[in-house]
């Protein structure tokens, strides 16, 4: 009988790693050696038992979820089209975010401005003090602002029927000097705030707390009217003012 097989050969035999002459020699020996056959059988059983016992630890579901996110989020080998689509989508999202941010900022500024204009108008209505310049004469009111404002404006020679000029105040909006022209439409008071045109502030017709807010803008001036008078009448007044510029 040939020499017993070594432990390494016996292991390799149960692992299916013997080939050629080595395999033939091992088979030849195992066929006649009870001891080595027994060892080979034992190694086979050990291999199966280790396979069972070795698969001992179960993957935690939390780790699986985390790793799936890692594998999915950073999934390499995406196609070029996928990469470009992802880049395009990212750019679109960024541009959209910038546009939306600008729109929101403008709306916020507009809302703040309208609120400030409204507050000024209500304060004027509530104040017991008369306007700083009291006159229905445009040649009195306009010159009063000389040296007080860094701009000039015109007043219409004639106002629509039922409207009168009551006077004016020098006030401030957003820390800028503004002419507050006071009109009456019937018994309704109208404040028209006139300031230098600021491109970033676009005010259109709106309504807030029962007051109508109507505006126009020229190249140099911006005017905003606030009143609880009929919106059409306020707009008529603003058209007359605009025509005078």
């Amino acid at each position: 009988m040939s020499e017993h097989l070594s432990a390494a050969v016996l292991s390799a035999a149960v692992d299916g790693e013997l080939e050629g002459a080595e395999l033939a020699r091992a088979n030849e020996h195992l066929a006649i050696c009870l001891q080595c056959s027994s060892e080979c059988l034992w190694n086979g059983l050990l291999k199966r038992r280790v396979a069972d016992a070795g698969a001992r630890y179960e993957l935690p579901s939390s780790l699986e979820e985390r790793m799936r996110r890692v594998a999915t989020g950073g999934s390499a080998r995406r196609s070029n089209w996928g990469s470009w689509a992802a880049v395009a989508a990212l750019v679109a999202v960024c541009v959209g975010a910038v546009v939306m941010q600008r729109i929101w900022r403008e709306r916020a500024q507009q809302a703040a401005f309208i609120g400030e204009v409204l507050d000024q108008h209500i304060a004027t209505l509530a104040a017991a003090a008369p306007p700083e310049v009291i006159s229905s004469d445009r040649h009195t009111v306009k010159p009063w602002f000389q040296g007080k404002l860094p701009f000039s404006f015109n007043l219409p020679a004639a106002l629509p029927a039922g409207m009168t000029l009551d006077g004016a105040n020098l006030t401030y909006l957003d820390r800028r000097p503004v002419a507050q022209l006071l009109f009456s439409i019937g018994k309704h008071r109208v404040s028209v705030f006139v300031e230098q045109s600021a491109d970033e502030r676009a005010v259109s017709a709106a309504e807030r707390a029962g007051f109508h807010v109507v505006s126009f803008r020229t190249v140099e001036l911006e005017a905003v009217a606030v009143s609880d008078a009929e919106a059409g009448r306020v707009a008529e007044l603003m058209q007359a003012l605009r025509a005078a510029q």
Binding site: A7, A12, R49, R66
Partner: protein, 196 residues
């Protein structure tokens, strides 16, 4: 030893081009199981797997589609483990490594006790005893037996993962089995030298 052994192992199996998720996720339970055995700690095992995944994902662009992904990612796991605190401690089994690196030095005949097969079979049926025996294996023997018996890797795949010659793989597996057997039998004989 080959420079890029995992690219040579199992070249006959060439799956279609797949993404990282498709290749890596099915191996996650195996990676965790081996990591848990090596680190002997649940938290460290999770950290090891996570770091392995991140490294593999970063290096996936350099992975050659169609080559052995399993060997590739297990090699990353093993190298990551070796660079960890636990792994560095495991590396200190210098004497064992030196002995095992000699691929021609196969297990001595005297290491096998051929006298008590019935007793061996009875002890083999004791799962707790076997788990204890596995846990007591030196890291180089534990990793090789896990890759061989649990992960059912061929010797050339194991050689690719561990970056050692196939002869050394063969020797270590034989020594691991002798050590397990010695542990199950409660022997303190020649096999103990391998375990310590």
């Amino acid at each position: 030893m080959t420079l890029l052994p995992w690219k040579r192992a199992h070249r006959d199996v060439k799956p279609a081009a797949q993404g990282f998720e498709q290749l890596a996720m099915p191996l996650l339970p195996s990676l965790y199981n081996v990591a848990r055995w090596l680190t002997r700690d649940a938290v460290e095992a999770e950290d090891l797997v996570q770091e392995t995944f991140l490294k593999a994902l970063r290096g996936f662009a350099g992975f050659e589609q169609g080559s052995n992904f399993k060997a590739w990612i297990f090699r990353i796991l093993r190298n990551t483990y070796l660079s960890s605190r636990n792994g560095l401690a495991a590396r200190r089994t210098v004497a064992l490594e030196e002995e095992l690196e000699d691929s021609s030095a196969l297990v001595p005949e005297g290491a096998i006790d051929r006298a008590t097969p019935e007793l061996n079979l009875m002890r083999l049926a004791d799962r707790a005893a076997l788990e204890d025996a596995m846990q007591s294996l030196a890291p180089p023997l534990l990793e090789v037996i896990l890759l061989c018996d649990v992960e059912e890797m061929k010797y050339r795949e194991i050689a690719a993962v561990l970056e050692i010659p196939i002869g050394t793989v063969m020797s270590r597996i034989a020594r691991a089995r002798v050590a397990l057997r010695a542990s199950l039998e409660g022997h303190r004989g020649s096999a103990k030298k391998v375990v310590v």
